[in-house]
């Protein structure tokens, strides 16, 4: 501690240790929070769908508010919509239809209407036809300041009796 350099060295190292302790404290205060988001409005319409099968398909309108998830530990959210269903050949299928990255500072109220799926809804086999119960699940992963596994949540909306055929395009 006799010269400026050794004082600067110990000061800087102490500051870094204090910053590490603060980051850990930030992680502790938010890691065990329950991150459920209430879905405010769900509407289902049945309209002509020209992109997929020729018959009338279901078009979903979902409104949900994500701002309770954004606390000070959250850097960005990774959202994805997946469809879960059971077929004869596989007990559980999950297909990701759409995803989006929401950075903090952007509008957390997502109002999704008329969204087309980003990825193809391919099934391993022919299990989609006459499938009675397909569950659409909106999940998210939280990327935090201290990027351990902070949390993930989901909202599951059952769409029963969804009859799809893959015969005609």
């Amino acid at each position: 501690m006799n010269t400026v350099l050794s004082r600067a060295n110990s000061l800087f190292a102490f500051s870094l240790s204090v910053m590490a302790a603060l980051t850990f404290g930030c992680f502790i205060t938010t890691a065990f929070k329950d991150r459920r988001v209430p879905v405010s409005k769900v509407m289902l319409k049945n309209v002509d769908d020209f992109t997929g099968p020729r018959e009338r398909s279901d078009l979903g309108f979902i409104t949900f508010d994500l701002s309770p998830i954004f606390d000070w530990n959250v850097k960005q959210l990774f959202l994805y919509l997946s469809a879960e269903y059971a077929t004869k050949s596989n007990a559980l299928n999950q297909v990701v239809l759409w995803d989006k990255i929401v950075l903090r500072g952007e509008n957390p109220k997502l109002n999704l209407r008329d969204m087309k799926s980003k990825y193809f809804f391919f099934d391993d086999g022919n299990g989609l036809r006459a499938n009675k119960n397909i569950t659409l699940t909106l999940s998210w992963n939280v990327v935090g300041i201290l990027p351990l596994v902070v949390g993930s949540g989901q909202v599951s909306l059952p769409f029963p009796d969804m009859y799809e055929t893959t015969k005609s395009y």
Binding site: M1, N2, T3, V4, R7, A8, S10, L11, F14, S15, V18, M19, A21, L22, T23, G25, C26, T29, F70, D71, W72, N73, I145
Partner: protein, 102 residues
């Protein structure tokens, strides 16, 4: 140019070093507590980092340069003996000879 930096005196005495260490640890811990509480209230970690950086610069200004408060108890060195080269070379040899005889 480096000789200019080396000629600036930067020493502190021992009590001054201890005081400087206590001062910067106290400042940084204080700003860390303030920053943590403020960031928790407004839920943005960026402000916590800014407050700690502010505390870091204040501590730098207060402890890095050798202010006079760190030089209040200087060590008292012995007065310098007037030296001639003949005396100093003979005296150690005499003491060595005496030790060997024992």
């Amino acid at each position: 140019m480096l000789s200019i930096f080396k000629s600036i005196p930067t020493h502190m005495d021992y009590k001054g070093q201890k005081l400087a260490e206590q001062i910067f640890q106290g400042i940084i811990l204080f700003s860390a507590v303030i920053g943590f509480i403020y960031g928790l209230i407004i839920q943005q970690f960026g402000w916590t980092v800014y407050i700690v950086l502010g505390g870091f610069t204040v501590a730098c200004v207060l402890t890095l340069p050798p202010w006079p408060m760190y030089r209040k108890t200087p060590l008292s060195w012995q007065p310098a003996l007037p030296e001639t080269s003949g005396e100093t070379s003979q005296k150690p040899q005499e003491s060595l000879k005496k030790k060997k005889h024992k």
